[in-house]
């Protein structure tokens, strides 16, 4: 593992962000937009619904955490897509950059991009809706971290598909996370889902995280078992995703796809 090579690739993405204000604006715009929209909906619900009177921050925090997951996932996929769009993948793959260094660099830049997007949104919540997102303290930070890691897992799966199928898999980068979103129980408890789907939901770390979040905000109760299950599943999915990436990489090398990722 070479820190110099990893920092080189991170530098490439930092240069790219610096050179393009629309990219930077987009990173900040969507989380803030989501927060403002759902903040007003939440304000309305506080007046109308007893549940939200108990925990006015529930909806906004759930929205924010969902956005953290989505940003973590899409920023991972986007970093790799940037290489395909700029036809630079060939140069990377003929350099001594190892697959796990590539994944490490994309992971780190995904964290930076997610932070750049989410922190301003959190800061806006306080003056605009009098919501202190950071109020629940460390448990919320752990939920945040567990979601970010799951975003990397889905991101690595997408990168694997991009390596194997090229730009044809681009739309999956956007779709895939929404496909499993209903099972994550972001805005409703898992028990709302049909029985069969409940079992599936509990196979995903976000379901445990959002269950934990509701317990934290509605009952002021931190359930460490939710967090432990989420992190254990994260670990499993990370191993599976990285395995899938290595399989896709080897398959692409067998079929000569690394120089040709176009349609």
């Amino acid at each position: 593992m070479s820190p110099t090579r990893i920092s080189g690739l991170i530098l490439r993405y930092v240069y790219l962000l610096r050179s393009s204000w629309p990219r930077m604006l987009e990173i900040i715009f969507w989380p803030t937009m989501q927060l403002v929209t759902w903040g007003f909906i939440s304000k309305h619900l506080i007046a109308e619904t007893p549940l939200y009177q108990k925990a006015p921050a529930l909806l906004v925090t759930a929205v924010l955490l969902w956005d953290v997951l989505f940003r973590s996932h899409i920023n991972f996929a986007l970093s790799f897509l940037e290489e395909i769009w700029s036809r630079n993948l060939g140069n990377l793959f003929i350099s001594p950059l190892k697959p796990y260094e590539l994944i490490s660099a994309i992971t780190l830049i995904s964290i930076i991009r997610t932070m750049v997007g989410v922190i301003p949104a959190c800061l806006i919540a306080l003056p605009l809706f009098k919501l202190d997102i950071f109020g629940p303290g460390m448990p919320l930070v752990f939920f945040f971290v567990a979601l970010v890691i799951f975003g990397w897992c889905t991101g690595i799966f997408i990168v694997s598909l991009l390596v194997r199928y090229g730009i044809a898999a681009e739309s999956l980068a956007w779709l895939s996370i929404f496909l499993i979103a209903p099972l994550m129980a972001i805005y409703y408890p898992v028990e709302i889902l049909p029985n069969a789907l409940q079992n599936l939901a509990y196979c995903l770390p976000p379901a445990h995280i959002f269950e934990g979040l509701r317990a934290l905000l509605l009952e002021n109760q931190f359930l460490p078992q939710n967090l432990a299950k989420a992190f254990a599943l994260d670990l499993l999915y990370y191993a599976l995703a990285f395995g899938a990436f290595l399989v896709a990489y080897k398959s692409a090398r067998k079929q000569g796809l690394l120089l040709n990722t176009s349609e």
């Binding site: 070479s2 110099t4 090579r5 920092s7 080189g8 690739l9 530098l11 490439r12 240069y15 790219l16 050179s19 393009s20 940037e82 700029s86 036809r87 630079n88 060939g90 140069n91 990377l92 793959f93 003929i94 350099s95 001594p96 950059l97 190892k98 080897k250 090398r253 067998k254 079929q255 000569g256 690394l258 120089l259």
Partner: protein, 253 residues
């Protein structure tokens, strides 16, 4: 050429895609301090061969040894000592020339990267546009930048895929001269894939001609011209390729 071991040793290299042999049992060496050309019509197997030399493509059978080490098991050490420039691979367009070279100097762990970039900028006359985004450069400027990226790690083996494609004669001549001087200075082995026979004749000491995935002719440009009784390399190349095509068609009949 001078008793040094070959930089590249290829033995029995074969690649089969869906039952079709794209590259069929190649055996060749690339000598140090030597410019070698890989010639062939479109689809002859040149790109497949170069991809296997870079480890981008896994061979179906055969071995590639570079710098005395087997490629597959020492790939990243070997890639550290070689590089490639191709008009079919771009550098990130929104980054400036300097930013691109900085990124690649880190990817190749170049220790004195600032000096190296300054030297390359001076040698390849990049200073005029070094802080300009790559997307704003002309084709000739982009070729020079791509070459700078390929030389960032002072490679001992340089692969050049059509280094002067789509360049005007003046720029193309400038690039050829620069590569010649660079090779004299650094003793780099160069493998060149090109369709420009005049360029190959001027630059290369050794030529491999490929058709249908096989090397059908080897030698210096002059040897090949004399052997086939032609006036220049292009005529000799056309004779070889057409003969091969006819033989293949007869074989199929």
């Amino acid at each position: 050429m001078n008793g040094d071991p070959p930089v590249v040793e290829v033995r029995g290299l074969t690649k089969v895609f869906n039952g079709l042999k794209a590259v069929d049992h190649l055996d060749f060496d690339i000598q140090p301090h030597c410019t070698t050309a890989l010639l062939g019509s479109n689809g002859a197997g040149k790109t497949t061969t170069i991809s296997m030399l870079l480890g981008l493509l896994l061979p179906t059978s055969g071995t590639v040894t570079i710098f005395g080490e087997e490629l597959e098991s020492n790939r990243y050490n070997i890639l550290q000592r070689m590089n490639m420039s191709s008009p079919y691979i771009d550098l990130p367009q929104r980054l400036t020339v300097r930013q691109n070279l900085t990124v690649y100097s880190r990817l190749y762990e170049v220790s004195n990267s600032k000096d190296r970039i300054e030297r390359l900028a001076e040698d390849l006359e990049l200073n005029e546009f070094i802080d300009r985004q790559v997307r704003k450069l002309s084709a000739g400027q982009k070729t020079r930048v791509s070459l700078a990226k390929a030389l960032i790690n002072e490679p001992e083996l340089l692969l050049l895929d059509e280094p002067t494609a789509s360049l005007d004669p003046d720029t193309a001549s400038w690039i050829r001269e620069y590569l010649f001087k660079y090779q004299q200075r650094r003793n780099t082995a160069i493998l060149l894939a090109s369709h420009n026979m005049l360029e190959v004749h001027r630059m290369c000491q050794q030529v491999f001609i490929m058709t249908h995935g096989k090397i059908v002719e080897k030698g210096s440009p002059d040897e090949i011209i004399v052997r086939h009784g032609k006036e220049d390399l292009e005529q000799a190349f056309l004779k070889i390729v057409r003969n091969q095509r006819e033989e293949k068609e007869k074989g199929q009949v």
